[in-house]
């Protein structure tokens, strides 16, 4: 039986960095993957959606290029070529990861892992079953889409993974669930010409973000992209026939060629035989871990979606690296707790730290500085004046507590705010740093000034006597 210092189960965005970090620390590492190296993120999530969104965004841009004096000819989308491009991107990135694992001497085991004990695993692949022993194990098996039981079993009723491998774009579709995955794919399809209807049970879409940001996104989705958004309504009586899916959202009949279910994700733990290792899960089946990634079984760690903490690839990556360090060294490090979130809707949005509504719920005294894209030279030059940034800071010390942005490049802009918040910076630190002109980064500097009541490029706030 071959022995490894560290075995990582799952080669997604949490698992493969954990394996590489373990190898860097001198451990003999194996990584087990039963599907594709790169996991959901690389193969059926972040990367393929962003490839399609890049295309849909460009297509939408070109339709409005007249304002730059650009006359494009007959515009059209060759969906098959686009999907081929997506495939190329995925395979290029996947090869990159494979080479990195190889360069770090990580043994890749194709197959599914199941615990036969706390320190032993059975790997079942195409070539049969092998038994390995592991001093430490990191479970990074991720999550998969939830398919609500009331939906008919039909090939026109799909989850995000199946949606991303379809051969032609539907002319109309229903998106069930207005979370960030549903909204991103809705925007993408709408920009490419699909008629989209979103049905959300809660009172609004994207409820995790502040109301002012939601309003901005929702406005663009409805007015510019023509997406129909039905909120506060349960979707019922769903049926599928030869060429369409239909159902009732309240008293509105909704119909589409396709139904995309994006109502949440559940942990992947099937086949792990966790009971053999003494692993415990919570009521929803997520593996419970502490702030150091330790499960109920010593020597076994878990990270990423399967822990149900924060279901974001970059959070899993950070947790994977930290868990590998905790497993392979004598030092214990806590998981990072500041996780930026990015939403690739049209327009993009992103946030990090406390939202205004969360600060209010905690009863914190805060000051908020907002600055609109429309007052920024660079944004006007780029022809995209919608959106704003927002800084939330402690009212007395000016310590940054949260930041949010909606508008062009929002998902890139958020990183500056994340660095500032993690390093306990204040409004003075952002406002006092020279930000290059003309750039979108200036938005943060202006927002910091606005929070302190002295924005240069905004009219003074009138104070009531």
């Amino acid at each position: 039986m071959e022995h490894f210092d560290l075995v990582v189960i799952g080669a997604g965005p949490g698992g493969y960095p954990a394996a590489i970090r373990g190898a860097q620390l001198g451990a003999k590492v194996a990584i087990v993957e039963r599907e594709q190296i790169g996991g959901t993120c690389l193969n059926w999530g972040c990367i393929p959606t962003k490839t399609l969104i890049a295309a849909s965004g460009l297509f939408a841009e070109m339709k409005h290029a007249q304002r730059f004096g650009i006359r494009a000819g007959a515009l059209g989308v060759d969906f098959a070529s686009l999907m081929q491009h997506k495939k190329n991107v995925v395979s290029q990135l996947q090869n990159g990861v494979k080479q990195l694992l190889k360069a770090n001497n990580v043994t890749v085991l194709d197959g599914s892992a199941s615990f036969s004990g706390r320190n032993s695993l059975r790997i079942t692949g195409a070539g049969g079953t092998t038994e390995i022993s592991a001093a430490k194990t990191i479970v990074a098996t991720g999550s998969t889409s939830i398919m609500p039981g009331f939906l008919p079993k039909d090939d026109k009723v799909v989850d995000s993974r199946a949606f991303l491998s379809m051969e032609k774009l539907p002319t109309s579709m229903i998106v069930l669930g207005g979370g960030y995955i549903g909204c991103e794919l809705a925007c993408m399809a709408a920009q490419l010409g699909t008629n989209v209807t979103i049905v959300e049970l809660l009172e609004d879409i994207l409820l995790l973000v502040d109301e002012d940001i939601r309003r901005e996104i929702r406005k663009h989705m409805q007015e510019a992209l023509g997406i129909q958004i039905l909120t506060g309504k349960a979707f019922a009586n769903v049926t599928a026939d030869g060429n369409s899916v239909r159902g009732m959202a309240g008293d509105v009949t909704v119909q589409g060629e396709l139904l995309l279910a994006s109502v949440g994700r559940r942990p992947v733990t099937d086949g792990l035989a966790m009971e053999n290792a003494g692993l415990k899960t919570d009521g929803k089946g997520f593996l419970t871990v502490d702030d150091y990634g330790r499960t109920s079984a010593t020597t076994i760690y878990a990270i990423g979606d399967v822990t149900g903490r924060i279901q974001l690839a970059h959070s899993a990556t950070s947790q994977g690296v930290i868990a590998a360090e905790n497993a392979c060294t004598r030092k214990l490090r806590k998981f990072e707790n500041l996780v930026p979130a990015v939403i690739f809707t049209a327009p993009e949005a992103a946030y990090v730290g406390l939202s205004e509504q969360a600060a209010a719920a905690l009863g914190l005294g805060v000051k908020v500085g907002k600055f609109p894209f429309r007052a920024l030279g660079r944004a006007l030059a780029a022809g995209q004046a919608d959106g704003f940034v927002k800084l939330i800071a402690d009212a007395t010390s000016g310590r940054l507590l949260g930041a949010a942005v909606v508008g062009l490049h929002a998902t890139d802009l958020i990183s500056e705010a994340a660095v500032a918040i993690r390093n306990e910076m204040t409004l003075d630190d952002i406002g006092g740093t020279i930000h290059a002109h003309p750039t979108f980064g200036e938005l943060w500097m202006e927002a910091a000034h606005a929070a302190q009541g002295h924005a240069i490029h905004a009219a003074p706030v009138k104070r009531r006597a």
Binding site: K331, R333, D394, T396, S397, G398, R399, L400, N423, E424, M425, T426, D428, D429
Partner: protein, 452 residues
């Protein structure tokens, strides 16, 4: 135009000379009616809510939250909007405002305040509570040059511990610079918000020890340093401290422990419960104690070391644990009360004690106290006598354990009780007789039958 009416700081009981407003429930401009809770006060005995006896609008608040004033001092004005408000100067006994930020000497100075303030709230004869020496500010003002003071403030350090080399030991700039070098200040890494917080709260940044792996001082480190600073205790806590210290250091205690067999009494109590009569174990202990105090009058006495005074009434104190402290409501003339009356009175006092609704006079004048930790799973403990009394009974948990009955070892519910007595007037033999009297009464179920 009418004149607004005064709201006075009420006088709760004979012993209370002054009170502190903790919270205003109404703010200026609010409509109020008779019976509305206006504000909450803290005395050295308890916290209490104060109701309005007036109708109208709260026009002006004279005494802010955190400020202490003598009883009968006006604290606010109530009337109709537009009423004239007399110009009244209120003498505030403690400054309620928080200390000024960035005042590097403020931290050392605060405890000095507390010594002065505390002496005001205690009876004039009581000694001021002991404050650890390290917390007392050096006499007089810190001798420091303006430049040195400015540098210390900029660097967010407390100059109090720096040794001055200027004239008369004055701290000058080079002393601060030397202190910074010696303490490795320049190699410190501090997050901007952590430095700002330390400056605002008057925390010496050198006292914030970094815990993050990077060794950088972060907000959490400053908050820990803040949490470690000495805080003034609540008035209740200070009173407890002062009274216990006084008793323990001036009264020679003697401790005598007995173990009572509660088995039969428990059975008897359960049988009463079936009949719909609900008594607690404490009720029986109270009754046994009261009867024993009548039998042993020397225990229901007190001494100042020269004279001894017998108390004709048994005023029975009951220690009740409340949020962050302890109060001792007193059942007066307990020797005149039946078991049922004792039960009712004790239950009512304990309930109000937990709600913070006891009046100060209900917590004074005790002659003997019972401290019952029966619910706390303790084997045995001893208590400190309340000042002005000569004994206290510490009641531990009743537990099933092997006991000898006749010549047999049997399982019985045994409960230890320890009397602490003032050895100046209670000899060991008397303490033993007294505590055995309580034990005998508790074990004599026949006699309880006659009392129900």
């Amino acid at each position: 135009m009418a004149q607004a009416q005064q709201v006075l700081m009420p006088k709760f009981g004979q012993m209370v000379e002054e009170s502190t407003i903790i919270t205003w429930r109404k703010k200026e401009g609010d409509k109020i009616a008779t019976g509305d809770i206006l504000f909450e006060i803290e005395t050295d005995k308890a916290n209490m809510e104060v109701e309005s006896f007036l109708d109208g609008t709260l026009l002006k608040v004279l005494v802010k939250e955190g400020q202490t004033v003598a009883v009968q001092t006006p604290v606010a004005f109530v009337g109709s909007p537009g009423d004239s408000i007399p110009d009244v100067k209120v003498q505030v006994l403690t400054p309620g405002e928080k200390k000024q930020p960035a005042e590097s000497t403020a931290r050392a100075a605060t405890p000095a305040h507390s010594v002065a303030d505390t002496s005001l709230i205690l009876p004039a004869s009581a000694p001021a509570p002991q404050v650890p020496l390290a917390l007392v500010a050096p006499p007089g003002k810190l001798l420091i040059s303006p430049r040195a003071s400015k540098l210390a403030r900029e660097k967010v350090i407390d100059p109090v511990t720096i040794k001055g080399t200027g004239p008369r030991g004055r701290i000058v700039e080079r002393d601060v610079v030397g202190h910074l070098e010696k303490s490795g200040y320049n190699s410190l890494r501090i997050t901007p918000a952590a430095l700002k917080l330390a400056a605002k709260e008057g925390i010496d940044i050198l006292s914030a020890r970094p815990q993050s792996p990077g060794g950088r001082i972060e907000i959490a480190d400053v908050e820990r340093a803040m949490a470690e600073l000495p805080r003034q205790m609540s008035k209740m806590r200070q009173t407890i401290a002062q009274r216990l210290t006084q008793s323990f250091t001036t009264t020679p205690h003697i401790y005598v422990t007995v173990e009572a067999d509660m088995t039969d009494l428990m059975v008897f109590r359960a049988s009463l419960k079936e009949k719909g009569l609900s008594y607690t174990v404490t009720d029986f202990i109270m009754k046994a104690v009261v009867d024993s105090l009548v039998e042993f009058p020397d225990v229901n006495s007190s001494t100042d070391g020269r004279a001894v005074r017998w108390h004709s009434n048994v005023n029975l104190g009951l220690a009740v644990s409340v949020d962050k402290g302890l109060v001792v409501p007193v059942v007066r003339s307990a020797q005149n009360l039946s078991l049922a009356e004792l039960h009712d009175r004790a239950a009512e006092l304990a309930a109000r004690a937990r709600d913070g609704k006891l009046m100060p006079d209900e917590m004074t004048g005790g002659t003997f106290t019972i401290s019952n930790m029966g619910m706390m799973n303790v084997e045995n403990f001893s208590a400190i006598i309340n000042p002005g009394e000569s004994a206290i009974l510490a009641v531990a948990s009743a537990a099933r354990k092997p006991a000898v009955k006749g010549d047999q070892v049997v399982v019985r519910s045994m409960m230890k009780m320890t009397v602490s007595a003032d050895h100046r007037i209670v000899d060991g033999a008397l303490a033993a007789q007294f505590v055995n009297s309580i034990k005998t009464k508790l074990e004599d179920v026949e006699s309880w039958n006659t009392l129900i």
